[in-house]
Amino acid sequence: MTLGLKITNVSKTWNPDGPDPVPAVRNLTLDVALGEFVVLLGPSGCGKSSLLYIVAGLEDATDGSVTFDGLRVTEPSPERSLIFQEASLYPWLTVQDNITFGLKIAGLSPKKQHEAAERLLQLVGLVGAGDRRPHELSGGMRQRAALARALAMKPKVLLMDEPFAALDVQTRARMQGHLLNIWESSKASVLLVTHSIDEALALADRVVVFTARPGQIKAEIPITAPRPRDMRSPEMIELARQCEALLGEEVEKSFKEQELT
């Protein structure tokens, strides 16, 4: 039995029987080891989100298989938690109730829920904000609350779909540092999608560059530099140049395709 996430020959076509089927992912194979931080980088519309939905179990692959810790993924589970670009906290619940939503569903006692909430608020730096409503929080705070909500379920994989894309640059940098701390202490694997090369290089153990649609793996770039990384170091600048070249080609392609259609 292999631990971790195994994506084997996965293809995904949207509307396969419709008038114009959309091949989003084609024949993709990717493994994410236990505790590994993998970042997906690719042109817009190349199927990154589609892949995350499949891994989360929200959508079925058209072909191929996803296994986690040796078990085939067929439905969503708290151990593979997904975080969206927009925090999508439930507006009718307080921050604390949002964070403990999954625990409540799991039937934990209110006391246990409360303890967990305290611990998680501490962890993501939201102490004292538990009684607030989501709309009273800033974008960064909301995203931290969403992270706490995912962590409450003790996930083994965090799937993150452009989690910081809606934040300003400063908040974004802080959030990245935050995420690294949490990741290091939680020992979960992370599969994170981003459009930002800098973000990819700052976070990843391995950057996976996608081709234009249908998404396939174009290149895998391991990064061994210790964190926190200095983006201005020659090594990082060289890696950034590499990523930019790889990504540039694919963005070009996907634009050409869009012009054709």
Partner: protein
């Protein structure tokens, strides 16, 4: 609000901030007054210039002049087609208003709960949905007024047909609104619930229901006025008591003053209803900002 209350400087200071607070709270009310004054002003002016025949369009200072005289026409028991021999009182007026309000309230409550239940049922149980939805869609465009004879055939005279009509006036619209609200729940909300281990029932209970309630309540509020119109028609035709009956009686006896007096009451009551629903919405369903339909 008056400036005669200025006292020693120290107290005056506190008074001023209190006065300011009061003024801020009163501001919406002042605008309502201003809005009304313009309307009443034109009307009174038209009367003063002799454009408006006081027998047909008596201005407010006439139809509000002799209240006890108007009160005599109000009988909570209803069924009477004329002034009471002995003078009515403000209580008989309130009684009449209470009857109309009760019919509207019960009809709205029934309509809201049943449409919510049926709407959710249509989406939750597929076969039930396929069987019921076409029926709802076909019945929805029928005006509540067209249901009036049906209401009388089924329920005869009294409260039930009026309540039934209010119910009909909102039920189909609200059922369709429930469906559209369910379909518009952000897909992320549901995906997250699934990830966090919710089954279908839990998704409906913990995510879809709270997500759709505020907007449905807004829809209910917007249909409040339709409900009032219907209840007045029902009262005029089939019930024999309430504000609708008084209006009809006033019309039959060419009592223009009474017509306008009753219209004033209807307007005020409808306004109070809307404010009450807004209040409930703010307190209970706070997570969608209070929408601004209908002012204030």
């Amino acid at each position: 609000m008056t400036d005669e209350t200025l006292q020693t400087p120290l107290v005056a200071n506190r008074q001023e901030s209190f006065g300011k607070r009061l003024l801020r709270r009163m501001e919406p009310v002042l605008w309502v007054m201003a809005s009304l004054s313009i309307f009443v002003g034109f009307w009174e002016f038209a009367w003063w210039r002799g454009w408006a025949n006081p027998l047909l369009l008596p201005p407010p200072h006439i139809f509000l002049a002799n209240l006890p005289d108007q009160f005599r026409f109000f009988d909570p028991g209803g069924t009477r087609a004329g002034a009471l021999a002995t003078g009515g009182s403000i209580f008989s007026v309130l009684g009449v208003i209470a009857w109309s309000s009760l019919r509207v309230t019960v009809g709205l409550a029934l309509g809201f709960m049943l449409s919510l239940a049926i709407g959710i049922g249509i989406r939750y149980f597929r076969i039930f949905g396929k069987l019921v939805l076409p029926l709802v869609t076909m019945l929805a465009p029928i005006s509540p007024v067209a249901w009036l004879p049906v209401a009388v055939f089924i329920f005869g005279i009294g409260n039930p047909p009026a309540i039934f009509l209010v119910f009909i006036a909102i039920f189909f619209i609200m059922t369709l609104a429930t469906l559209s609200q369910i379909d518009n729940v952000p897909v992320h909300y549901i995906q997250l619930a699934r990830i966090m281990g919710c089954n279908k029932r839990q998704i409906y209970r913990h995510v879809i229901l709270p997500a759709i309630l505020p907007e449905l309540f807004v829809t209910l509020r917007m249909n409040l006025f339709a409900a009032w119109m219907v209840v007045l028609i029902a009262e005029a035709v089939g019930v024999g008591s309430g504000l609708g009956q008084v209006t009809m009686m006033a019309r039959n006896t060419f009592n223009a003053s009474l017509v306008f007096f009753t219209m004033t009451l209807i307007g005020l009551t409808g306004f109070a209803f809307d404010q009450t629903l807004r209040y409930i919405q703010r307190k209970v369903l706070w997570w969608v900002g209070p929408s601004n339909v209908g002012g204030l």
